[in-house]
Subunit: 310 residues, 4 copies
């Protein structure tokens, strides 16, 4: 283990070396006040290994931030749990998609079936599905995250959720469009409520890395039980690599080279199958909506460890 | 007057001659049960002259039907009343538009500003505007129609309105998309409620022809007061001619050649400026959503009277 | 006739009164040098009556300018001559169309069938059709215009045609897209050559008004022979009113209120059925591509004469 | 080496086991007669290792087939050779893209800059770039392939190229649209000629696997010289994984899990970085345009070898 520790200490040093002079760069998401008020100079980075070790750097690896779109990975996993997810793929495709400009157009053209579960309309379908399965989508998500992190207190930030709802008319438009095609099964306001809640859950880098470890363990949770089949785990990782970082998935595939999912809260979750998860956080975003420092840190991570898939 | 009567009797005969063997053709709107249950064999046709005469034919010129999209002409007139409508043209364009396939796409591309007030998103803007102006969009519309028809009892059909609402997710999607661009000012559910109500008002051909006479009188209501300036009246007629019959406006301009507005209830209102209005009704629709027999009747009307603008 | 002369003299005075202080406004088309070099201060206006009279004003009613898109009306008429045009409507629709932003998209979506013959892809279909019919589309067009104007010398400006071709890649893209759907029957380069030639024909206001008179005469040429049936003449006028002025057809229908076709050379041809044609020319264009002074002159014309259709 | 041979023999057996009963499935590309006439029952599969070994199975590992879109990988590599490719990324993006329905629309919307070099418009840009660089795009490509395969005779099939050209109007439309935005630098007919030629080069599985080995060798050619920097090699592999298999890239990422490029000739080239290339061929295509048996064979290959990146 001390060898491992030395190794990872070196990795963390290389990451900090790369990121240090860029902390504060980018533009903090400002469509709601709760995100806009985050200090742009914060940065955190954590590696959780499948052996149960945690290695962190940055002053804010234990500072909580808003999960936002990273929640889409966890709700998708929950919908697919126990191999039960085959139905979901009738309601959402799994193909990469230019997302920036034409989400509504594509959705209209393709009869209300979104391109993949990582874009907003796809994630709304997943939340709707999870709500049908469990009666409480956000509760089920919270339960998973609490169990895996060992922190019974993980929860949605109600102020953030309320603000998301207040500026959520475009998501409402997407949801009602899908409903008009019969592809939303619960009342639209309920689905949106759960969706805004799931996005507003707050976690730290350490918690996020730990919560996502099942993706590095071929689907097994911390207690050894199987959340996902190995095959479905691969499915989710493929979706993350090809669609996980908005309209920069091609760039991320090249620069980082491992499956990632980002959120406008500034966090990114990355997975090295069989080995570890990595969570990075910095609030400043680039023009595509991905954290500048978190992306840079992950790039340094794969450069140093050589774990890029390419 | 008896000369007039002879003349119009001849016109009505020519209309019935043309239509007779086609009654029952087309497909009754079936997206809500209240429309689907209408007898497809009904037909009515009425001419209301600016001199106050009414000439009708068909067995059902006094049978009430659902106003549907024809209401868009009246709400637009109310928003423009007294020359006050200049604001509305900042929120909706007045250009013809292919409507069939890309309403959401166009709206997304053009930042939430609809192409014209005769397509659904444009009509939602008009209803929102009227609601802001008056506090009661559908009440104001009802009041106008009751006054002009002399029937204090004209009203929305609550069953139809409830069904419209129940199948109105696409209109919700359009409204929330515009709201996301800041182009809806009242709460979206309120706007939709008024919109569904206005569409579900029921009128007969005679009532509709009479209610729309101000359009043939250069904007003057039945009591001689001015609802619209002559210039704004021309504006509405131009919008009707170029955008009033869904994706068949070009065909109507040629075949009928006067400003028309149709609704999926099977009614069409047409205007001969300075002379008369014509209301025709038959529930069977063609593939573009316009009444088969009403369109045919109007074609016969302009053939016989030579009042096509071309 | 002297009464007529007095009347039209008054009309011309009113037109000049309205236009005078605006001459020079707008932006001369500059995508090819031959158009960019036209003096922006020129203006001409001519009325040709069905009785054979010509009334002109402005210093440049006999100055020739580039016909450009106005040629689309004449090629359409030639394709429909003698009632033979029914085939063309299988290859091009006749519905109004937002043209500004999505011509290719619409064409792709609707399998290579353009929305109407006044937009570029539709006009290319018409030219292709005329080429198949006659073996020489531009020659047939030139022959018609020479005969009707009495000037055997009307011809294409070869420099303009060459420049149009040199900047014609978007038209090539449209033509090949339609060809890929099987909707262009001649070799694409031939069709484009004829199209660029037809656009570069130069005429004066007097010549244009005279050449278009058959549209005011229900289809009859100057020698009394029938070019178009009355019904097909109406068809063309309806297409002009709803689609003749780019993405400002709705505005023109209201402001001018009679069928018009404009070109980026700064000319506009308007028709008052049964009475006269009007040709106006001023090189400065508004942002939609229509001549500022020509539109203004036509607006004054219909205001004074009361011949707006609304 | 004999251990390796045993290992790979086992892999080949597993591949044949999986594929055997499916040979002949799918639909042979039929848009040109030269492709339509290929025997649907042929199948070939070859592995070329970085150690210089070749392992093949199927009756047709040495039968030549049409390279088609697989050529896009090689022209892209040539444009980026020696680290010189930075300019190309100003002319084409590198983001995944739904390709099936809206190539023209997206290109129009994004001002003539294609989403990535694996879709047709992007590949046309690459060919144009290579043509500018070398004066002979297809000659340069042929030279590379001849050198790497050791076969001086590899060449385009002129009949196929002529047929491609004969049915290439959609590609012409794409090219002229990009030219209208200034994003094609050579004469469009020249670019298309080279493009059709490059697609019609014929290779066998063994030749294709050998020709692509530089992608598994971090950019080094068979003689040890560097065609691509290691970083640019990763770039190409990332583009292949996210965009290399038409509108099925997400599905391939999951099912196969290594970078692939397919062509409608029925071939697929796959790369295991640092280890080997795999070429599979079967003419029957699925509805997305990828070979049914080649995809199946690659899926078996990654299952057995465990070399999926996920």
């Amino acid at each position: 283990m001390s060898d491992d520790r030395d190794y990872y200490t070196g990795v963390l040093d290389a990451v900090m070396e790369r990121v240090r002079t860029h902390i504060g760069e980018g533009r903090v998401a400002d469509y709601i006040p709760e995100l806009a008020s985050v200090d742009p100079d914060e940065f955190g980075f954590s590696i959780a290994t499948v052996d149960g070790e945690m290695y962190s750097t940055g002053d804010h690896a234990r500072t909580r931030f808003s999960l936002q779109s990273i929640s889409k990975v966890f709700t998708l996993a929950l919908v697919m749990r126990g191999g039960s997810g085959s139905d979901i793929w009738k309601r959402v495709h799994r193909e990469p998609s230019g997302n920036a400009f034409n989400s509504l157009h594509q959705l209209e053209f393709e009869n209300g079936v979104p391109r993949n579960p990582m874009i907003n309309p796809g994630a709304l379908i997943v939340t709707d599905h999870l709500l049908s399965d469990t009666g409480d989508a956000v509760g089920t998500l919270r339960e998973l995250m609490c169990r895996e992190t060992g922190d019974p207190d993980l929860h949605a930030d109600n102020l953030v959720a309320a603000s998301e709802s207040g500026s959520g008319d475009r998501n409402r438009s997407l949801a009602y469009l899908m409903a008009s095609f019969g592809n939303i099964h619960n009342p639209v306001p309920d689905v949106l409520e759960h969706y805004f809640q799931q996005c507003s859950i707050t976690v730290s880098c350490e918690e996020l890395a730990r919560a996502g470890l099942f993706l590095a363990r071929h689907g097994r949770l911390s207690d050894g039980s199987e959340l996902l089949t190995p095959s479905d785990t691969r499915r989710i990782l493929a979706v993350m690599l090809t669609c996980g970082t908005y309209d920069a998935a091609g760039e991320f595939a090249y620069r980082v080279g491992i499956p990632c999912k980002s959120g406008v809260g500034g966090g990114i979750l990355a997975v090295v199958p069989g080995r570890c998860t990595v969570a990075a956080w910095g609030p400043g975003l680039d023009e595509k909506g991905n954290s500048v420092t978190a992306a840079m840190a992950l790039e340094a991570f794969t450069d140093v460890t050589g774990c890029s898939v390419f």
